[in-house]
């Protein structure tokens, strides 16, 4: 295997609170190539904090520690703020869950994409505009010229999410971190969004970290899955082998979902073994 795009070793995220110290991420280790990696877990498992820590977006008073956190050979822990700023949104970008809260509400969508592009590439307004329009087209936006001039509140959730993906991809990043990119969307819309992400990953050779609580979705979309529980990776598995998962937590998580195929009643519930969290 060639040098990984992202190398994470023993990542820890801690929050010192009045009530004591909470360790949200406790020693996560993984390597990412140009592939689709899923991170799954329930709320509080530390999956989002893992994604944020990679980008240096851990909210204060959070504290990040790792034996190694390197992107394409660049040590993210010791890198200057300037280097990090150039990487964020440039070579690494992030799609958040809800476009309603992540887009600038007082700026037209097109302007926001132009701003993202010009922040990282030396380009004139004209070129940036062409790129933004091309990108809106690439995410299958109907009538990109019209959407360009619209404000975020004037578009639907699905269109807003497409606009955010366009903004994140206009700089042609090498790594995209998508934190629940489709959870706020309807199923049919989320399938379209995933199809767009899928094409972009396979055509641009981008690395993708797909963070989600939805095991079914992740297993059908990603190549490899990390299952997180209480801040740790309890299992790493090829997505297509998820049915043969060995860890009882992964098995329980798979089984407790109702399916269209068979009618199991009552649904098996998860008996949490305190040993999983050790």
């Amino acid at each position: 295997m060639t040098a990984p795009l992202l190398d994470v070793e023993d990542l820890r995220v801690r929050f010192h609170l009045r009530t004591g110290t909470v360790e949200a991420v406790r020693g996560v280790t993984f390597k990412l190539g140009r592939e689709r990696l899923g991170i799954v877990g329930e709320s509080g498992s530390g999956k989002s904090q893992t994604g944020r820590a990679i980008l240096g977006l851990t909210p204060p008073p959070g504290e990040v520690e790792a034996r190694r956190l390197a992107f394409d050979g660049i040590d993210l822990l010791t890198a200057s703020r300037r280097t990090l700023r150039a990487l964020r949104g440039g070579r690494i970008s992030m799609v958040m869950q809800d476009p309603k809260y992540s887009l600038n509400p007082v700026m037209p969508i097109g302007e926001q994409i132009i701003e993202a592009y010009q922040a990282h590439k030396k380009a004139g307004k004209g070129e940036a505009r062409d790129r933004a329009l091309a990108m809106l087209e690439a995410v299958k936006m109907r009538d990109p010229g019209r959407v360009f001039a619209l404000y975020p509140h004037e578009v639907s959730g699905g269109m807003g999410q497409r606009a955010m993906i366009a903004m994140m991809l206009v700089t042609e990043p090498d790594l995209l971190i998508a934190d629940e990119p489709t959870s706020a969307l309807d199923v049919t819309v989320s399938m379209e969004i995933l199809r767009i992400l899928d094409e972009l990953v396979s055509e641009r050779g981008m690395g993708l970290i797909f963070i989600s609580h939805d095991l079914k979705l992740v297993s059908s979309f990603c190549d490899r899955v990390l299952v997180m529980y209480a801040g740790r990776v309890v299992e790493e598995i090829e997505a297509r082998n998820l049915r043969d998962a060995r860890h009882p937590y992964t098995q329980g998580l798979m089984r407790c979902l109702p399916t269209l195929k068979d009618d199991v009643r009552p649904l098996p519930t998860l008996n949490r073994d305190p040993a999983w969290a050790l």
Binding site: T188, L260, T269
Partner: protein, 264 residues
């Protein structure tokens, strides 16, 4: 249908706004629910599925049509007797419980409104029914997990012994493992107490699991009424329902890759 329906909705229409701003949130929706059964309303956001529930319990204006509960047309505004028969459980247990009321106060309020006696015994019984012990009685919502909060919301709805429970996405704010617990609880309660449910959800698997019959809605209109068996066997009629079924199975990679290559 052998028995008289518990709920009979005829040509229900819900309209918001007037003139150019007029929006029909629900257009001519009709369905019947047998006593003791579970009826599902499925659709994407904006399909009007939640509005139907809200219209039944008087939280949305009924512009036309008729709502019959237990053989009687519901009065407007809804009477106390109506709320003894029909209660609702909302989607987000973080928003639907008063943050500064203890569980005890949340549960005693409906009893006080309806002039019920034996509040203490009823509260303890309600807590037992939803699988929580008496130790939960004096806790505040912030001292409870999401699943425990939803159990309290269900206990609050059940404490007046209604016949019909309207469930608006009761598990979509919960983790998968907690969802399974709540779905099992709802299943047991219905069997033990002989309740009738209307369940609104965007998750076809959840609806198929809990419901006998279901109505697929889109843009305020009924698309297709079908049963869980038909859904499981994938013998649905409309293309829209089929696309929902397909999407609920997870992501499918199209090979060879569909769609034109990207212009970059």
């Amino acid at each position: 249908m052998a028995r008289d329906p518990m709920l009979d909705i005829r040509s229900l229409r819900v309209t918001y706004g007037t003139g150019r701003m007029q929006v029909d949130a629900v257009k001519d929706v009709s369905f019947q629910v047998e006593p003791g059964s579970v009826y599902g309303l499925v659709g994407e956001s904006g399909s009007g599925k939640s509005t139907v529930l809200r219209a039944i319990c008087g939280l949305a204006p009924v512009s036309a049509g008729r709502i019959m509960v237990d053989g009687r047309e519901v009065p407007s505004p809804r009477s106390k007797a109506f709320y003894r028969t029909v209660q609702m459980v909302f989607q987000d247990p973080y928003a639907s419980l008063h943050p500064r009321h203890t569980v005890d106060r949340t549960l005693s309020e409906p009893l006080a409104i309806h002039g019920e006696r034996d509040a203490e015994a009823r509260i303890l019984q309600a807590l037992r029914e939803v699988g929580l012990g008496p130790s939960f009685r004096f806790r505040y919502p912030h001292q409870l997990s999401g699943g425990q909060r939803q159990r309290i919301a269900i206990a609050r709805a059940l404490i007046l012994r209604p016949k019909v429970l309207l469930l608006d996405e009761p598990t979509s704010a919960l983790d998968a493992s907690v969802q399974a617990e709540i779905l099992n609880l709802l299943d047991d309660l219905r069997r033990n107490l002989g309740l009738t449910y209307i369940l609104v959800s965007h998750d076809l698997a959840v609806v198929a699991h809990l419901c006998d019959r279901l109505l697929v809605m889109r843009h305020g209109e009924a698309v297709e009424e079908t049963s869980s068996e038909t859904l499981r066997a994938n013998r649905v009629e409309s293309d829209y329902t089929r696309s929902l079924v397909e999407a609920s199975q997870g992501f499918t990679r199209r090979t060879p890759q569909a769609g034109a290559p990207l212009a970059s």
